[in-house]
Symmetry: C2
Subunit: 216 residues, 2 copies
């Protein structure tokens, strides 16, 4: 059971930013990109970037750096972003509308095939082209639509029961936008997106004396 | 300049989850909570939790654990969550509507005092009680409303110019929900919320053989 326990999680979290910069280098016509250039763009140490990129299996060449095209392919393959994954989103509110409209996800193979809500005024409508279905149809729709991921954007008090329904419907991967730690079977993986974590970091940065005194 | 470079960032990111669990222990009537209990709840190693909590300055007692009330106060104080911070949100779309409606932020002192948009059909309205103003009034409103934080939820192509306007208006802290790395003056701190990072982690967890092979 690897849930919540990916050893290289901070490295993996940085890969999308690297990909963004390397893709830009490709657009700008570069054949190679150095770890130092990536590091400068992101205010990281070059050694950190080189270490992170070893998990993709691509080796940089001395003085030239990493070959751009193979490196993009390797990062995308490592992340599984070179294959399309169908997802349902449960809770068709503002956050769901924001997420289904986020074009970058499509670039990374995340394909929203259906949204679900218990609000009858939403059912039958669409959010960014994604049809909104009744919660009662979750089981059949997950199968019909070939969905493997459930993105949960319901109010936190409904998080666990929603996750249970998704698991019953056959979902094995849950992206959880609530503040609830879900109890899930061992064969279901999950990732919780905690917006208060980013806010915590911003707040500590705002109090500039504190990190210097306590953290260094 | 500490932007993007907070050494204990992973520890700080975990503090909100600890706070959540410790608050629940307080509600349940506990006077002490052990690092082991927190670790179990979050599938972390106890030594990691104890190490993270040292940055708050509170010391646990052998066999009893941490005193709940002082620990809550210490985490909140460390994060600056014991004081109210007024924020403007720029880009009054679906993500802004989701964020202003996220009640947990209020618990942490984040007070949205105004939203800004260039869409005249939105100006004069409200999102979750937060008034929507014209972008032209940003300078005067930031001062009138006493805002110190700008949350940027515009499309990525407008990110830099929006940040420039926020900085011109006197904002010193930016929470950036676009996928653009902003160029900011040295006295402005920022935190970028990258939703693709979480998706990257979920994807790696889904491919369960890969982490075991490459990451362990």
């Amino acid at each position: 059971m690897i849930n919540e326990k990916v050893p290289a999680a901070p490295s993996i979290r940085r890969l999308p930013s690297y990909l963004h910069i390397i893709r830009q280098a490709q657009k700008d016509g570069y054949e190679f990109i150095s770890g130092t250039v990536i590091a400068q763009e992101l205010h990281l140490e070059p050694i950190q970037v080189r270490k992170d990129l070893t998990i993709t299996g691509i080796i940089g060449k001395p003085k030239r750096g990493y070959p751009v095209v193979p490196l993009i392919a390797a990062i995308e393959h490592f992340l599984g972003w070179d294959s399309v994954k169908n997802a349902v989103i449960i809770g068709a509110g503002n956050l769901a509308t924001a997420l289904t409209g986020y074009q970058e996800f499509q670039l990374h193979g995340l394909n929203f095939v259906g949204a679900f809500d218990s609000d009858t005024s939403k059912i039958g409508g669409h959010i960014h082209g994604v049809p909104v279905f009744s919660m009662e149809t979750l089981n059949t729709q997950v199968k019909n639509l070939g969905a493997t991921i459930a993105v949960i954007t319901v109010p936190s008090s409904y998080a666990q029961e929603t996750a249970d329904k998704a698991v019953s419907a056959g979902i094995k991967s849950i992206w959880n936008f609530t503040n609830v730690k879900l109890n899930l079977p061992d064969d279901v993986v999950s990732q919780r997106e905690d917006l208060t974590s980013g806010y915590a970091l911003l707040c500590v940065k705002m109090d500039a004396d504190k990190p210097k005194r306590i953290l260094e």
